[in-house]
């Protein structure tokens, strides 16, 4: 690249500066400081006091926290596979050019652009146990009408269902990935007499696995945070803490009770949980020789 002058290259790095410095200040540094605050008691008024692992012992002894952690994990186990498979199914159904394909793709993406608060309120209405369209429809069909968000047994399912409606980003990524697959493989497969299922199982799926793995990892991390607005707006964690998720606890610890130390500690726990989940999935697939080239 020596055909570019030094001042040109300096100019390029100057253009990268706002992005790099800003990201460092807004994401990198806050995340690091949060990791340090996790070992202190801090109320934002008096200076932080180092307390070792006391915050983590407090968290472990708090039944609301342990409930929130298990709720978040159950949500991820239910929602992430559905979201990834849903995005893959949408992409496979709609990636081929045809009449109306643009409209179908736009329709599938639309719920993803609905602002979070509005989205939460819409689903609060849809799952209203008495008058919401879901239960009214179930009643009209003579089926049982669950209490949904009002019932601790069923409260988590509306969260999972609504999260599956916001899969536009994964859909777009997989759409682009499917278009990038080498056609020749599929032609060869078809010539060899492979059926549609065989083509999917032995060509599409292995070729798409790096993308699916990347999306799964991202989805696991983002799912911890995604639950905040729905739980904050729809239930506040009720009934009986059935919809208490990690970010809601962090919010209440820090911004209602000014306990920035325990809030940060819970963040660190969340981070370690995500890393553990991702490592487990990576090892699981790698042992089967799938994601060797991620």
């Amino acid at each position: 690249m020596s055909r570019f002058s030094l001042s040109w290259r300096a100019g390029l790095w100057a253009m990268l500066l706002p992005y790099l410095v800003g990201t460092l200040l807004l994401i990198g540094l806050p995340a690091l400081i949060s990791g340090v605050l996790a070992f202190t008691t801090y109320d934002a008024l008096t200076p932080p006091v180092f307390v070792g692992f006391a915050n983590f012992r407090l968290l472990a002894a708090d039944p609301i926290v342990t409930t929130a952690i298990s709720n978040s994990l159950v949500f991820i186990v239910l929602a992430v596979p559905l979201r990834i498979l849903g995005a893959l199914a949408l992409a496979m159904l709609l990636f081929r050019p045809r009449r109306g394909a643009g409209g179908y793709r736009a329709a599938a993406y639309l719920p993803t652009v609905i602002p979070d608060v509005a989205f939460a309120l819409i689903w609060l209405w849809i799952f209203n146990p008495l008058f919401g369209p879901v239960n009214v429809a179930l009643g009209a069909l003579g089926l049982p009408q669950p209490g949904w968000l009002a019932d601790a047994e069923t409260a988590r399912y509306p969260f999972v269902i609504m999260s599956v409606f916001q899969i536009g980003e994964g859909f777009v990524v997989l759409l682009a990935a499917l278009r990038g697959l080498p056609r020749a493989y599929f032609d060869a497969g078809a010539v060899d007499g492979a059926g549609r299922w065989a083509l999917f199982r032995y060509l599409t799926l292995p070729l798409m696995l790096p993308w699916l793995a990347l999306l799964t990892f991202r989805d696991i991390i983002l799912s911890f945070q995604w639950t905040f607005t729905p739980s904050f707006v729809m239930t506040g964690g009720d009934p009986y803490y059935a919809t208490m998720f990690i970010p809601l606890v962090i919010y209440e610890e820090a911004f209602d009770r000014f306990r920035f130390g325990t809030g940060s500690a819970l963040m660190l726990v969340t981070f370690l949980l995500s890393v553990a989940l991702i490592a487990a999935i990576y090892l699981l697939f790698r042992r089967r020789g799938y994601v060797a080239d991620v």
């Binding site: 990268l16 409209g103 639309l110 719920p111 652009v113 209405w125």
Partner: protein
């Protein structure tokens, strides 16, 4: 009729499944609009109401009477009017530079950006709040706009990076030989060559800031500064079961995002997607 059955059957064979899928994904939007037009005070519905039978558009005006939604609208507009142009400038500069630096730095920057996409914003809530209150940004609209100084999201920088990589590098070499600096080349040659990416990033940035609920929730106390998402939450606290008004508020918050998205959806979803070489 029987003559039409052949083509009709063929059409349904091709389109039944995608039509059904599209309908399912549009249901939440349809139910939101229908509920927003329902006369308040009517007995609750006994059957699924697909369309409003006697539309009551007055719900929309009433939202403005209950809360200063006009004020919130202005605040929201101020935020996006600042954030969108800023983001287009900072993200395109970074993406442009990323596309033209030498290979080793380029790979490192792409890896860094993808890694940053994985950082949940939850991890920055507390310390960003402490940082903002330390430098006096809390309770100002600027607190909501600050990320735009850094391109708003690594995704936007990556979109620009891919777009600039698709421009033939000779174009920039020519500009360089003509004596243009990197900034001039970005502004005069680079940006005009990636207009679709700019439109896409502008719309995505608009949706991001327009929808943002968590930043104003964390950084704003003064009701005068509330943006629309906080206003909608306030409406819910005022009357948690006033569904027609709540849904009218939700429609008003959702409509601009949906319209802008529909204007540019072909850039992401069309046959020649943005990410395609």
């Amino acid at each position: 009729m029987s003559r039409d059955r052949g083509p009709l059957r063929a059409f349904l064979g091709d389109h039944a499944v995608p039509l059904l899928v599209a309908a399912v994904f549009l249901l939440p939007l349809l139910w939101m609009v229908t509920a927003s037009l329902r006369e308040p005070g009517l007995p609750p519905p006994r059957t699924v109401e697909w369309l409003p039978l006697a539309p009551a558009p007055g719900n929309y005006a009433e939202v403005f009477e209950l809360l200063p939604f006009g004020r919130y609208l202005l605040n929201s507009l101020a935020v996006v009017l600042l954030a969108v142009p800023l983001t287009v400038v900072t993200a395109s500069m970074a993406g442009f530079a990323m596309a033209l630096v030498e290979r080793r730095s380029r790979v490192a920057l792409v890896v860094l950006s993808v890694a940053l996409l994985m950082v949940p914003l939850t991890a920055t809530w507390l310390t960003r709040f402490l940082l903002f209150s330390w430098i006096g940004l809390t309770d100002t609209l600027l607190a909501l706009v600050v990320p735009a100084l850094a391109g708003s999201s690594p995704l936007f920088v990556l979109i620009y990076f891919w777009a600039f990589r698709r421009v033939r590098p000779e174009v920039f070499e020519m500009a360089h030989l003509d004596g243009a600096g990197a900034f001039t080349a970005w502004w005069r040659v680079g940006l005009p060559a990636v207009m679709p990416a700019s439109v896409a990033v502008a719309v995505l940035t608009f949706i991001l800031y327009w929808s943002d609920f968590i930043s104003p929730l964390l950084y704003l106390r003064d009701q005068e500064l509330y943006t629309l998402p906080l206003g909608l939450r306030q409406l819910q606290q005022l009357d948690p079961t006033g569904w027609p008004l709540l849904m009218a508020g939700a429609v008003m918050l959702t409509l601009p995002a949906v319209l802008f998205f529909l204007l540019v959806q072909h850039l992401f979803l069309g046959e020649r997607g943005l990410g395609r070489r």
